[in-house]
Subunit: 225 residues, 2 copies
């Protein structure tokens, strides 16, 4: 692994480029210019070139980037060369939806464990996995869970996060609508489902009031990943 530090903002965009490259590969396109990649990712071309230079990748003048090689490089840097097992805690509708999400397995994040504290759910099967009791989380081997996903009601989310940390999980994705705290060595991200609606609402109301100031699809492209 290179000692070069990749800026956080670049890390955020790498999955977007990866998705665009995947779409290009699906259509059989072998090379891509920074301009095309930029347009499809919703950023400007200078930013694409700068981001990719952090990977030590510069493309070929007049040709661009090799789609397959660039995909491989980005995936490697994101640690996607090997699979990362995901445990989901909270088997309500959202937990079930994520457990059934084919995109996770297809993109290197197989679901390995499902947990709930509801006795009526424990022992039943979702997406081919038997739901385990939350108390069994302590017995899991550290290496078995790369990322813990919390899809519980907010009032138990902190307790679940504590249990995940206790079990040795070092990366947590929190869908519960509450702020939770984790030790510094654990990486935490939160998904706020309302965030997207708020941003959409901004553009929708502006569109209604003044169509001329609507950006030409760039906001849409930004997340069209």
């Amino acid at each position: 692994m290179s000692g070069r530090r990749i800026p956080d903002a670049t890390v955020e965009r790498l999955p977007v480029y990866l998705r665009v490259l995947h779409d290009l590969a699906t259509t059989g396109q072998g090379t891509v210019s920074s301009e095309q990649l930029a347009e499809m990712a919703g950023v400007n071309a200078a930013k694409v070139r700068k981001d990719l230079s952090h990977l030590g990748t510069y493309g070929t003048r007049g040709v661009g980037y090799d789609v397959d090689f660039l995909s491989f490089e980005i995936a490697s840097r994101l640690g996607l060369a090997s699979e990362t097992a995901v445990a989901i805690v909270g088997m309500g509708n959202l937990g079930r939806a994520l457990a059934n999400h084919a995109g996770f397995r297809d993109r290197g994040f197989p679901v390995s464990n499902l947990y709930d504290n509801d006795e009526s759910k424990v022992g039943t099967e979702v997406a081919g996995h038997v739901i385990q009791h939350l108390d069994e989380l302590g017995a899991v081997a550290k290496a078995d869970i790369g990322i813990g996903v919390i899809t519980t009601p907010p009032e138990v989310a902190q307790d679940v996060a504590d249990r995940l940390v206790q079990a040795g999980v070092r990366a947590i994705l929190n869908f519960a609508p509450i702020v939770i705290a984790v030790p510094a060595h654990v990486t935490l991200r939160k998904v706020d489902l309302t965030h997207e609606l708020q941003v959409l609402n901004f553009y929708q109301q502006r569109e209604g009031a003044d169509a001329a100031t609507q950006p030409d699809g760039s906001a849409a492209w930004l997340r069209e990943i």
Copy 2:
């Protein structure tokens, strides 16, 4: 509405500030410095001041920003002063999870309509709403749906998007793992559930390889909204 153009990047951060301000208000804090707001939002203070200046808001030297007033201003700019009704198409686990998500209603996005094309689901109730057949989408009044949310399987997502556009919906949030196209007057955003896992994975692997280069929680804070 001011004619001043708010940069897209600022629009993306406004919901983050709003959530932080909400958390501060909950704890009873009346004013907030740009530094504290910045730290809690995971950006730097200069960016906060710049972002808020786009709203024509500059705070008071030595005091900071009034929490309630700033919340009101941001909410107004995001168009959150009035409610925006949300229709969800696709009543699988994800659609049900979103229909039951209390955060939508609490934050100004009441769910108004639920649709599916599965006859066994049509007529049943989720979160107090009767699921309607997709064919009834054409009969809905334009004003009744501010945002359309697509939670269908990928193979029907484009057809659903076309029907939403046909019904007059001008803002679409797509959870289906596929690229869909909409006319230029419609704002489209896509939620990629794997994106968060990929970014988490990057920090998790780097943490494992070289703990010293781990940013001190800033990546976590960025999405701790």
